[in-house]
Symmetry: C3
Subunit: 139 residues, 3 copies
Amino acid sequence: MRFKQINNGYIIRLEKDEKIIETLTGFLKKKKIKSGYFSGIGAVSKSEIAHFSLDRKEYSYKALNGPLEITSLLGNIATSGSQVIIHAHITLSDSKMNVYGGHLKEAAIGATCEIILKKNNKNLNRKLDKTTNLNLLDI
Amino acid sequence: MRFKQINNGYIIRLEKDEKIIETLTGFLKKKKIKSGYFSGIGAVSKSEIAHFSLDRKEYSYKALNGPLEITSLLGNIATSGSQVIIHAHITLSDSKMNVYGGHLKEAAIGATCEIILKKNNKNLNRKLDKTTNLNLLDI
Amino acid sequence: MRFKQINNGYIIRLEKDEKIIETLTGFLKKKKIKSGYFSGIGAVSKSEIAHFSLDRKEYSYKALNGPLEITSLLGNIATSGSQVIIHAHITLSDSKMNVYGGHLKEAAIGATCEIILKKNNKNLNRKLDKTTNLNLLDI
């Protein structure tokens, strides 16, 4: 992972085989960033994405193996207790330009991933919402 | 709907059954925000999206029922006369991670929708363009 | 192409038949913008998108003819030597709301394209990476 500080945030380049959520979470801890948002483009070698069922109050997961372009990675950064939480959704495309997407559980980078991350000037907390069983923004 | 003021904008959480365009438009009026842009992720329970035909100079609409993840919601805020206008496009994914998208007419939120909204420091106006029959940015 | 300066960047409106990469690159040169990022929505009349193969170290291309909505255009601006380089990925939807996407080689605008472009306060350089044969961010 490489990064450069800009304005109110960072340009981040994730490298081959780095995991998006794991690597970004480590970076946020190191930089003590607790609140923010980001967007990115790039490519993954494998990924696990999810779809939430409000009826069953749980995610279903799907593993996507093989190289896919990241046409959109959008996410935000908040805290839940002492933990930094990344919430991100991703849109991916294959070699036929067909597209897949969902809640990003985790993905390993292919050639590169270029992210713009901006810090918020106020903390954002998440709290378990019993109706949905999700860690929703407590704002 | 819940929100928290940050830097030059707001973090917004839309709640179950709230309509994206209707709820955001009400918020913008209340906060007197006339120019800006936003991005978001979350989920919808039902949505109506559209595709514009330049030949026929009109939108065709498609209703998508059932829970879909919002993998990307991108939009901007401008005015047309005294009205605040939200223009947004959305990308949605189903439980098989297949993806649908288009111009967002309206959508009702599923579990949550988390939006970053930023204000512009100058007004943006829209004006009817006769060639396309669309309300284009008059800049 | 039309534009209006806002905060730390520009609102840009691309017009019918203008090419996204070509027109934006010309604008960046004129405004001497060497580092930044952008997002946009709109529609294209034809486009060429690409998928990168790490194995073959090259892109494969697909031409998409016909009007498609841009549900997401995300990109960044950097330099490679004296050249300004736009790197953008795009997500597109057809009249049945099916979605296609990938690395944006080039696309011609349909009715309109509305872009928010922000400048970074530090330069970003790209450099040929021999492992991937891609011009990666040299940060």
